[in-house]
Amino acid sequence: MSQHSGTTGLTTSPAPPIDETGQPTEGADGVSRRGFLGFVVAGATLMAAADLALTEAPAEAAIPTIPSIPELYDLNDLLTHAALPTSNLITINVNEDGTASFALPRAEVGQGITTSTAMIIAEELELPLDKVNVTLSPARPELLFNQLTGGSNTTISTYTPIRVAAAIAKMELLKAAAILLGDTIGNLVAKGGVIEAPDGSSVTYGELARKAASPTTKKVKVDLKPDAGFALVGTPQNRIDALDAVTGKKEYTTDLQIPDALPTMVCRAPTLNGVPLAIENKAEVLALEGVTDVALIDTGVAVRAETFGQAIDGVRALKVRWLDGPVAGESDQDVLKKVRKAELPMPALPKNPLAHTVSADFTFWFRSNSAMDTNSAIADVRGGKATIWAGLKSPIIAQQKIAKELGLKQADVEVNVVQSGGSFGRRLFYDAALEAAKISKAMGKPVKLMWHRADDARVGRAHPMATSRVRASLLGKEVLVFHQSHTSIETDFRHGLGEVITANAADLPAGAGNLGFAETIFTLTQEVPYNFGVVLQTLAETDPRFNTGSMRNIYSPDVRAANELVVDMLAKEAGLDPYEFRRKMLRIKKVKAVLDKVAEEGEWGRSMPAGTAQGIAIHKEYKGVSACLVEIDCRPETVNRKIYDAVSGPRVTKVTFAIDVGLPINPRGLEAQMQGGITDGIALALTSSLHLRDGHFMEASWDNYFYTRQWNAPPEVNVIVMPASSDQPGGAGEAGVAASFAAVACAYARATGKVPTEFPINHGEISFEEKPRVPPVPESPTDGLDHTY
């Protein structure tokens, strides 16, 4: 990635010297470990920016057994390092009303990064939290790699640069205050947005905002506040957008009022990725009440109308000739055969006549990462310019691809990032933004595109089907070999690192580029934290015909579930309790600590009735470690409980989850992310999958795709945030899924006495009547008043 330096006209400093722990030591500029360089940027009011040249993120120290790759250099190191050359453009403004503002070059999708970022700024700048405004930055191509929201990397990669910018802002405020108050900086105290001198005189940040401004941009050195002085970071805080969320004021893409951007929906093919050939009744549809435009694009036929209801009616009235999509006629059993064919031979286990072989094969079906807020985007493509509004985790590549599609210069495409109603990986791609741009161009008018739920579930990106085969060799109570071979339908990483250069590298012919990317992601995220002798984990991917992408926590939930189920099998074979076996085998102290925590708090081993059981599992990723202990009820009276239009099935009755993220910025937000991860884990294990039949996915409704609902939510959830174990934060957004899925799977196996071989466990039953494929979206009911309560 070094080829990018210089392309923006920015100069980057050479990498700093790194000591044996990987920490930057004193650099050429004489800046010490806590000292960093940054900028005061020219402006009418104070603007401070961070220089990242001295914030090389240290790799974790090696452990004196043979470490797996993620222990030395993981996905977050890759993302953090990819962000290094340009992050110095992160700027904090101090305003005359006493607030500070910051445009975060990331996407808030519910994970809470605007809140944690505001906390970090408030802490370093000594400003009350409610005086910090964090907005989302539009696409800024000059940021290169540094505008991708993924891999739970936001806080890991931005923590130090944001602190540096805030510290510079505070320092400049102190300098200005010193002149004004006639005292030295050392005598002044900044607190709560006010700087006070020992004589009691004081001045507010608002009053200083102009006085501290610099007419020129200059490089400055600053020391960060010592962690011991933290008053806000590490304390539980409510989300800064909570008030807007509970009053209906929080705006998502489809809530924005952009003049003349009328509601628009797309009529899609009856087979996955089918292509429209011709509209047979365009005039008829155009004559419908409210419909203003009908246009054929490559993904379907778009209908623009006065209301979404009328756009739905237009979509339903359309008669379109279609070319079948690439998986026409196939079912998920056919696809599974293809996956099995792509499985690579597993290496032979050592020939030891005394060793037992434990082996297991698992299938993980397609799953949907459809969010509540369906794929949506507003596009205005007119007069050689385009303006886009959408929830986007990779806005730079979106801007580049849209410019290419429209035949415009990148600079003529403005891409605004809007807060999203969930992502779960879905918004790493820009499907709706690109489609809206095409529609707006075809109609010559602004459009507000929203995917119907049916489309979002059927056509939207999915977690690919995968198999995981595990072979382990056990001698007495020791594991000699642990092999795991994961084979998957291709996971689309063509968003690259968020800009066109790596995105194109992932788009080389025949999937070669994407496989390289997929293997890199796999290698950088997967590890077996147990002392299992010779450990080997491999990935093979096949078949690019599906719409896939990284679903929350990518490979880890499946890999970990397979892994931990086999750990339980090994424990049984070794005659050890699952918890004791894990304790004995874990190589890493921090993992042991969270495991012990959940075992203690969750009362591991307590006596439980037949048909119910506990399950325990661990995970390590995103610079953090987690453990989960669940209790599940698989008794017939629970499994068969009747709920209208729903799958009930086994119920997870209690969850105890412990997480150590290094430095927790906002324990309350972290707890929320773990609760969400637990809910995902339950869905992945028990209820949530897509069924491919005759060339298309069947699920077109939330009553078809069974994401966890209240009746399957655990009545008791206890999340324990471990005290800070590092001075650097780890990732939160995805960290709760893997251990939860694995623990539910293990608990289910123990409660039923049978290790499941496919997930979710209910995939074999179709529990709903499929909605029609033509028309592709269902009619809205008219009997809503019969169901009031």
Binding site: R239, Y252, T307, Q675, T782
Partner: protein, 164 residues
């Protein structure tokens, strides 16, 4: 075009639109009231849950022509005004909204207006039946939250119930 009139958050509104357009689109696309969210359009996800004459309903599944001039529609925007002044919390909101803030329920927030409107109706229904909200009531709430905020929703409903 027929004129449709009804009471929205305490004020009479009139809008020119065909009878069969579902109320959700009248609210969102024509009146700019965007608190009720679209999540499915088929009365499954419940993200648009609002109140009609004090009862929970889903405007995605009600043609506007079925709403009478005296019908009172309350969306999340109008919820605070339905609480007696003495019940409103530190932010001037309905006790259930305040409970949502106290428990910091929202993650992405998209489903939460609907969740809150459903929660208020669940508490009122229990009150009308002379009882408190039960675990079965909570299990029966169909509103989906894809972020998985169910744990805090359950806690917040108990808190909100206590101050309603």
């Amino acid at each position: 075009m027929p004129e449709q009139s009804f009471i929205l958050n305490g004020e009479t509104v009139t809008v020119d639109v065909a009878d069969d357009v579902r109320l959700l689109w009248v609210l969102r696309d024509l009146l700019g009231v965007t608190g009720p969210k679209y999540g499915c359009g088929i009365n499954v996800c419940k993200a648009c849950t609002s109140h009609i004459n004090g009862k929970a309903f889903n405007p995605c599944s009600v043609p506007v022509g079925k709403i009478g001039g005296d019908d009172e529609i309350t969306t999340i925007e109008g919820l605070p005004d339905t609480a007696p002044e003495g019940q409103r919390g530190p932010n001037g909101l309905h006790p259930m909204q305040e409970a949502w803030l106290e428990r910091d329920v929202a993650q992405c927030g998209y489903c939460q207006p609907g969740q809150i409107m459903a929660a208020v109706a669940v508490v009122r229904r229990a009150r009308d039946e002379g009882r408190q909200v039960t675990d079965e009531d909570l299990d029966g709430i169909r509103n989906i939250c894809r972020c998985g905020t169910y744990t805090r929703i359950r806690e917040a409903i108990r808190v909100g119930e206590a101050s309603m």
